[in-house]
């Protein structure tokens, strides 16, 4: 059963084509990693899924529904959540208010429940409940960004470079949480430059190079692949 399918997706920024026909499939309950160098089009691919910018051709199917032409707001309310690159928490709002924003379209009772659940996953956030998000460390903000994405009780969560600019110990913690999400039945689509950890955790992986999918295999095979080792794992 597929959660998210991209079929031959092309995306343009003005006249420049950023994605040259990308096909990716994420099955239900999987962790799929997308790795690639700077400028390969990883973030563009995610943004295309979110409908900003929309794909110029090809199809994007989320849980059996064609969302290629749907506006961002509709897509983001269809059981999918994204943790944007660079965390992007609401820095002037407290941790609790940030979480509530995540459950914007849910009832109060649902919010209360998801909030407790997020605090279970990240006890640190509970300690900082009334603190302004902008005053927290990068790792805490990343936890908050993930927590906020979980508030809408998504079936699938997309993470854009969750390890960006974080200390190794914090990265380890974040990846543990991502592994835990799979156990809860949440499908994870992970975009990373930190290829080693991303592939280690993933069931399957895709390698994106200048707007095209270059390789596609299980996480373990990709880790062992000499090309991948040379290009992304430092030899």
């Amino acid at each position: 059963m597929s959660m998210l399918v991209l079929e031959d997706v092309h995306t343009h920024y003005g006249k420049i084509e950023a994605l040259h026909g990308v096909s990716v499939e994420v099955k239900k309950g999987e962790i799929v990693s997308l790795i690639g160098a700077n400028g390969a089009g990883k973030t563009t691919l995610l943004m295309t899924v979110c409908g900003n910018p929309q794909a110029t051709s090809g199809r994007i199917i989320l849980q059996g529904r064609d969302i290629t032409r749907e506006p961002t707001a509709t897509i983001m309310r269809s059981g999918i959540s994204i943790v944007p690159e660079g965390r992007r928490v609401f820095s002037g709002l407290t941790v609790e208010e940030n979480l509530h924003m995540g459950g914007f379209f849910n009832t109060k009772a649902e919010i209360r429940k998801s909030q407790d659940h997020v605090y279970e996953l990240f006890p640190r956030l509970k300690e900082r409940e009334q603190q302004r998000a902008g005053t927290m460390s990068g790792g805490e903000q990343q936890m908050l960004a993930i927590g906020r994405a979980l508030m809408s009780k998504p079936n699938m969560i997309i993470l854009d470079e969750p390890s960006l600019g974080l200390a190794p110990l914090v990265i380890k913690q974040i990846f543990e949480i991502i592994g835990h999400l799979r156990e809860e039945g949440i499908t994870v689509f992970l975009v990373e430059q930190n290829a080693h950890q991303a592939l280690n955790l993933a069931d399957r992986g895709y390698v994106l190079e200048t707007g095209r999918i270059r390789l596609h295999d299980t996480g373990k095979n990709l880790l062992a692949n000499p090309d991948v080792q040379n290009a992304y794992l430092g030899g």
């Binding site: 707001a73 983001m76 992007r88 002037g92 208010e97 509530h100 924003m101 914007f104 919010i111």
Partner: protein, 423 residues
């Protein structure tokens, strides 16, 4: 006590002298080859010089003096004050607010006609500023053409009364709704714009409306404006000496009191007060509702807000529309108060003043905005004695204010949203 202090003190003393010159109305007159100081007796000159010396000495020994003052505990009542409990503070706040409103209701019966008239103007500005506060302070959309919606409200009432004889009470909602429609219409093209670009487009919109009103002579009377706008009535009772419209009675005859032109002024003031309170309450309520949080989220981080499924279109449009609605409200009251409106009343400066009120008050903070509206409207009146230096002082006060408290008079305190605890 370094050379730095001495330099600073000298500078302050010289500034004192310079400031004294315009404020006390001195005048330098050239007579032949000499320049003579006019408009000052020897006594004032001496006191000005004395003041400069006092400023000089104070600045020179400021550190010592402040240290001495700091030691005296009685002089600093805030030194060991505990923060108040949340529940007690809320109770206190609502009590104070109620008292202020009751005071404002009684106040006009004891003061001069001019003060009540000025207070009505203050209330109109409060309505305007509270409305703009939604757009600029909460949603973070810089709108420099806000006065256009004010004009729409005012002209709606003026035109409706001129052509169809519509009364104030009917025109009030129509004016506000029409202004809101204009807000919606303007909102669409500017949705994608942010910051400077948005400011320029809204600025253009404000000018378009004004120039349109100026040039549609056949409909709006152009620069001649529209006069004879009727006063509001109280349940069909008019406030004029004679009844103008058939079927109406006059206020003073109904109650058997002597006619006084003050009744009308006070009645208008009370209407403005009630409408301003309604505006404040409605917006306060909206701020606590999901739409209020959506405004703030979009202001804080547009991409994050959209990633949570918020629609940029509807959130921005709602802010624009609601802001415009209350500007229309204020415009209708303004037209009724003046009895005559022309495009002159809706120039860019008005937008700028309302924006200044919002920024001075502290973006997003209602109480701050209300205080700033009072200050900004009354200050130029109080400074009337300084005649031509009036706006200079007004400007200086604004600059000082922004240096002293860049976040505004009363920065917005974030509203805390409580969820009911589950049993």
């Amino acid at each position: 006590m370094a050379a730095h202090n001495l330099k600073h003190a000298l500078f302050c003393a010289i500034i004192t002298l310079i400031i004294a010159y315009p404020i006390l109305g001195f005048n330098l007159v050239a007579s032949g080859t000499n320049i003579i100081l006019e408009g000052a007796t020897t006594q004032t000159v001496i006191s000005v010089l004395l003041a400069a010396v006092v400023v000089f000495l104070f600045q020179l020994f400021r550190d010592n003096i402040m240290a001495l003052l700091g030691k005296a505990p009685a002089l600093n009542p805030l030194a060991n004050r505990q923060p108040m409990e949340q529940s007690r503070r809320l109770k206190l706040e609502s009590t104070i607010l109620t008292l202020i409103i009751i005071g404002a209701l009684i106040w006009p019966f004891f003061v001069s006609r001019g003060s009540v008239d000025l207070a009505t103007l203050v209330l109109i500005y409060i309505m305007l500023a509270l409305g703009l506060n939604v757009v600029v302070g909460l949603a973070g959309l810089l709108d420099l053409g806000y006065v256009a919606f004010y004009a729409v409200g005012a002209y709606t009432f003026a035109l409706l009364s001129q052509y169809y004889g519509v009364s104030f009470w009917f025109a009030l909602p129509i004016g506000a709704l029409l202004a809101a429609t204009f807000g919606l219409v303007l909102g669409f093209p500017v949705l994608r714009l942010r910051g400077d670009y948005l400011a320029i487009v809204t600025l253009g919109f404000g000018e378009i409306i004004r120039i349109l009103l100026n040039n549609m002579t056949s409909l709006t009377g152009g620069p001649n404006g529209i006069g004879g706008i009727p006063d509001p009535t109280l349940f069909g009772m008019e406030f004029g000496r004679r009844v103008k419209e058939e079927g109406n009675t006059s206020f003073h005859e109904t109650f058997g009191i002597a006619y006084s032109s003050e009744h009308k002024i006070i009645f208008l003031y009370l209407i403005a007060l009630v409408l301003a309170v309604i505006t404040a309450l409605v917006i306060r309520r909206l701020m606590r509702m999901p739409v209020g949080r959506a405004w703030e989220a979009l202001r804080e981080d547009e991409i994050a807000a959209r990633s949570l499924g918020l629609s940029r279109t509807s959130v921005k449009l709602s802010a624009f529309t609601i802001g415009a609605f209350f500007a229309g409200f204020a415009g209708t009251v303004f037209a009724s108060k003046q009895g005559f409106i022309s495009p002159e009343s809706f120039v860019f400066l008005e937008s700028a003043i309302v924006l200044a009120i919002v920024v001075l008050g502290g973006m997003g903070s209602q109480l701050g905005v209300i205080l700033a509206a009072i200050a900004v409207t009354i200050l130029p009146e109080l400074a009337r004695e300084f005649s031509e230096y009036r706006m200079l002082i007004f400007g200086a006060a604004m600059v000082l204010m922004m240096v002293w408290r860049p976040q505004g008079l009363m920065p917005m305190r974030r509203i805390h949203i409580e969820l009911e605890k589950q049993e």
